[in-house]
Structure formats: C-alpha cells, structure tokens
C-alpha cells in the first residue's frame, strides 16, 4: 500500500449527496448531540453521558489520531445543507494493508442509506487511493441496523469474536466481516 506519510491531511470525499470531511472545531455541538443518543450509547464505546466537552476532546484529538495512531476520522454531512449526518473512521494497519472501519449515523439521518454511503466513500479511498488489501467492520451481533449496513456495503461475514469489546462495562461479542478489493461491491463499478 501507499506510504501514509504522503497523507499529511485527510481528504474530503463526496458522492454528490454526502460529503465526508475532516472534523472542524465548530462540529462539537452537532457531534455531542449525535452521540448523546440512546442508540449511539448502546453500541459504541463512548462516554455516557456524552457531553460537549467529550466532543471537543474527540475533535481536538483527531489530528493526533491520524498522525500517531493512523486512525482517520471524518464527519459525514449533507452535501447541500452541510447538516451533520454521521461520523466514520478507519484504523489502518499499514504493515499489513488492513483497515478497521467504524461509523455512526445521527438519529434524524437513519434509514436513508447514509451509513452505506459513507462506508462506500471510505472503502473507495482505502482501496483506490491507499491501495489497501483488506477492510473489516466489527459490530455487536444484536445491532441489526449495523449488520444490514455491513452486508449492503458488500462485506462478508467471517465469524464471531467472543467477548471482544467493552461497551458500558459489559464485555460484548463482535461479528466480524470483511471486504477485499476483488469482492463485488454494490453501487461501485468493478475495479
């Protein structure tokens, strides 16, 4: 895969309807509102309650996460209004060319294909621009919406990782699914 040191800044990605762009300091109120939500708090390892200061800290840390931990994180916005619809990230293991994707959709934007859209944009960047070899998504097996997104984005289920995460002090299982560059990807022309 490409040398990540060429990528000092994260790109802005768009499919015409959605814009996936790096965090800005003034995203904090919308990020806090998105995370202080029953569904978000149930499935994600984020502070509960989620306060404005948590969002400010998360956003302030974004550049360090990319430079040091190789975690790229973005917000997803409506291309027209700029309204914040979700967030998406990929943790890159450059040595093996692997990436681990995570995402969250704001309450008001669910069921509109936002999750599939932003995952597809990040998949495109990882495979086409970075030349990565494998992407994976892990999610709680009880999270039906996320499992549907994973399959809709073309990811294939591989197994169940038991007791793999801690969400709100509970150890939880994760379904693991992967997408390889040669796999069929709905909504994307074959590479």
């Amino acid at each position: 895969m490409r040398d990540l040191s060429e990528f000092t800044e994260l790109p802005e990605l768009s499919d015409g309807r959605l814009i996936v762009r790096p965090y800005r300091p003034d995203d904090a109120p919308a990020v806090a509102a998105m995370c202080q939500d029953e569904t978000a708090l149930r499935w994600l390892p984020i502070p509960d309650p989620y306060r404005l200061s948590d969002a400010e800290e998360w956003i302030g840390d974004a550049e360090r996460r990319w430079c040091e931990d190789r975690v790229a994180s973005w917000v997803a916005c409506d291309a027209g209004s700029g309204e914040l619809w979700g967030s998406v990230s990929v943790r890159i293991d450059a040595k093996n060319g692997n990436g681990d994707i995570g995402y969250l959709v704001a309450r008001g934007a669910r069921r509109g294909g936002v999750a599939t859209g932003m995952v597809a944009l990040v998949v495109g960047w990882c495979f086409d621009d970075l030349g990565m070899g494998r992407l994976q998504i892990r999610c709680d097996p009880r999270n039906e919406a996320s499992r549907r997104t994973i399959l809709r984005a073309g990811f294939q289920l591989e197994g169940m990782l038991r007791s793999e995460q801690i969400i709100r002090d509970e150890r939880t299982d994760s379904v693991i699914a992967s997408l390889l560059p040669g796999d069929p990807q709905p909504g994307r022309s074959a590479p």
Binding site: N98, R134, G159, R162, S163, E164, I176, L180
Partner: protein
C-alpha cells in the same frame, strides 16, 4: 517557576542510601574509571571516549560555571555512608519554557540496584517542589533498556520516539522521549511486570543481546520461515540481532512481550513465545516458534500455557487470540488443545510474502492489479473459559 536568581548553587539532595553533592577534584580516579565503560560510550554521547584525566580536569573547571551561566545543575551521586562515587546526574533548565531536562550516567559498579532511579526521583522532586518547573523531560536511546527502566521507575511517561534525534560518534540515534508534569503520579510506571515464568521444565525470560546467535540458528529454518509471518529466509545474523533488539524495545514500551523460551536445566534457547497487547491490554495475541531440534516435546504448549496464565493473572487480559495460516495443522491442533475455540477465517488478513506459498490464499486479480493475500484462522480463549493449571 521560582526566580532562579535566588539560588546561588543547587543544594545537596539525599535520602538514606545516596547523596547528590558537588563534584570534587578527588573524584577524578572514579570518574575516569566509570566513563571508560562500553555502555557509557554507546549511550552517553556527551561524555568523551576514551575518557582521559584531562577530560575530568576540564569538566571540573567548567562544572562551577554550569549553574550561574547555563542554569545547569550537576551533581555527583555518592553512597550516603561511604561517599563512594556511583553516578552523575544533571538538570538542564530551559527557562523560556519553564522545563528541565534530566541527564545521567551510572558507573558500571553501581548498576542494577536502583541508584539511578533514586537519584532521578530526588532531582525530580527538587525540580517540581522547589523550583516549581512545569515540565521535566528525559531522552534515552531506544536500545538503552536500563535507562528506560530508570525513567519508568521515577514515574516518567513514555511520550514518543524521536527519530534520528542525536548525532554522535558517527551515527544518528532514535531516542525515547519521557516526560512528566507536576500533576502526574510520581509512582513507578511499570509497563509490564517482570516476565520470568517457570514450570520446572521451561524458563521464559526477556531476550538478552547475546541470544542473537541462538535465534539465528533456530530461525534459519524453512518451517519457521514458512509459518511465521515476515520471518525472512535465509535468516541472517543481522535479522537475529534486530529480532532481539526489537523484542527488548517493545517489552520496554509495554505493548509486546516477545520472550525467550529456554530449557530450565541447561539454559539452552528452545524457542520464543510472544504476547501482543491491544485495546488497553484487554485483548492479546499469542505467537510462538520452536527450533527444529526441540519440536515434538511439548515446548510450544508448555510455553503457551505459562504465558496464558501470566496474561490472565498478572496482566488482566480478558481475551487471548491465536491467528494461524489455514494450512498450519500443528498450530491449530495446539490452539484447540490449549482450550482455544475457532471463531472464523479472516479472509486476506495478511499481505503474502514473496516465495512463500500457503494454503488459503486470496488469488491475485487476473490483470495483476490486485495482489494476493493470505487468510488467517482466528482462535480465541476467554478469561471465563480459562482453567488455571494446578501448581
């Protein structure tokens, strides 16, 4: 920060065991003897080598000017009772950012008994509590494991690695940056408890630099190269040296314990077992290899059991993983014997290596635009499933 103009000279600092005092002309013989040491040559670039009596005379003369002209405090560390010279330590104050940098060397005869970390603690407390500095720093070569332990014992936090940071004696060094601010806890920050594990038959211990030839002999083996990701073939002396040095660095950093597995009776190196720690040490991955002459004797299983017990007890790991190539039947059988459960096959999880042909490979695309990748079978053992062995 205090007004340093009020301090005519840095005070003596001491505890029951050591005293930090001004350098004296009578220290010459001991300083010259200490500084003509291989480790000081290797890691202390500011100390001349070979170290002559004239170097000491110059240092002594300049030493009196360090504080008034450069805000550099320099102490000789001596035994509190006998006044035997043990070490040297300095605090270089960078007034513009109200920070201080600690530097030191320890005489060969004083190593391994906590002298240096005690001295660093005394200087640290003076810097924070008396001078009211806002930050302390300490840098040390990535391969200077002893010095990294000193920093950790004094409560310093590992902040990063500065690549090519210092240039001396014909090479550039990568240095670990340790930092501390006044609010930090001053207790030791032990990255990993001392991994010395035994079951009567095997001893598991950290790698030492002189293990490199035995590592090379063991790894220059087609089976090891075939089944272990990124093991080169043929396996050169430099590969073994890098393996040992890398093992020592990562153990000091605390994110990976790659350890030597030895015969308890003879001390002979039989193999290696590793534990990679993820997610705040909640999840860890075990890996191992055993040299050809020692296979089929239960060495891998014995070593894995010791490390599994260590991971669940001393490290508080919740979930242990083993990843193997689909064709590695021996490793999969062992994983199941160890109580691990097969959870799935991770497709194309690893980039394939040239010249190594394995089962379970994602084929490259016909036009060559997509490279091949190797699958990994995933096994895991949870704390709740683990049965500690009876002593």
């Amino acid at each position: 920060m205090k007004d340093l103009g009020d301090i005519a000279h840095p005070p003596e600092l001491s505890d029951r065991t050591i005293r930090l005092r001004r350098l004296r002309a009578a220290d010459k013989a001991a300083v010259v003897k200490a500084c003509n040491d291989g480790l000081i040559e290797r890691f202390c670039y500011r100390v001349p080598y070979p170290y002559h009596e004239s170097d000491f005379v110059e240092f002594l003369a300049y030493n009196e000017h360090f504080w008034p002209s450069d805000l550099m405090a320099n102490w000789t560390v001596v035994d509190a009772g006998s006044d035997e010279l043990l070490a040297m330590i300095s605090l270089d104050i960078i007034a513009v950012r109200q920070a201080g940098e600690i530097g030191y060397w320890c005489a060969p005869w004083a190593r391994g008994r906590g002298v240096m970390s005690t001295a660093v603690r005394l200087v640290r407390d003076w810097a924070f509590d008396e001078l009211e500095l806002e930050r302390l720093e300490l840098t040390t070569d990535v391969d200077n494991i002893g010095s990294q332990r000193v920093a950790q014992a004094a409560g310093f936090r590992r902040e990063g690695v500065l690549r090519g940071y210092l240039s001396a004696r014909g090479r550039r060094s990568d240095d670990v940056l340790f930092g501390m601010v006044p609010g930090d806890p001053r207790e030791p920050r032990v990255p990993l408890p001392d991994p010395r594990l035994e079951d009567g038959r095997l001893v598991i211990r950290p790698f030492e630099p002189d293990d490199a030839p035995a590592v090379q002999a063991a790894c220059d083996d087609a089976d090891v190269a075939h089944w272990i990701h990124l093991v080169p073939s043929p396996y050169a002396a430099a590969d073994a040296e890098e393996f040992v040095a890398g093992s020592r660095r990562r153990l000091a950093a605390g994110d990976r314990a790659r350890l030597a597995v030895c015969d308890a009776a003879s001390g002979e190196l039989l193999g290696s077992v590793s534990l990679d720690l993820y997610d705040d040490r909640q999840v860890a991955e075990i890996g191992y290899w055993v040299k050809r002459e020692a296979r089929r004797r239960g060495v891998a299983g014995g070593a894995a059991r010791l490390v599994i017990d260590w991971a669940f007890t001393a490290l508080g790991v919740e979930r242990l993983e083993i990843l193997t190539y689909p064709g590695n039947d021996a490793s999969q059988t062992l994983a199941e014997q160890l109580g691990f459960r097969r959870e799935g096959v991770l497709r194309g999880f690893l980039a394939p290596e040239p010249g190594k042909s394995r089962d379970g490979r994602v084929e490259p695309s016909e036009d060559g635009s997509l490279p091949a990748r190797d699958d990994q079978v995933q096994f895991a053992l949870l704390r709740s499933e683990w049965r500690p062995r009876l002593a």
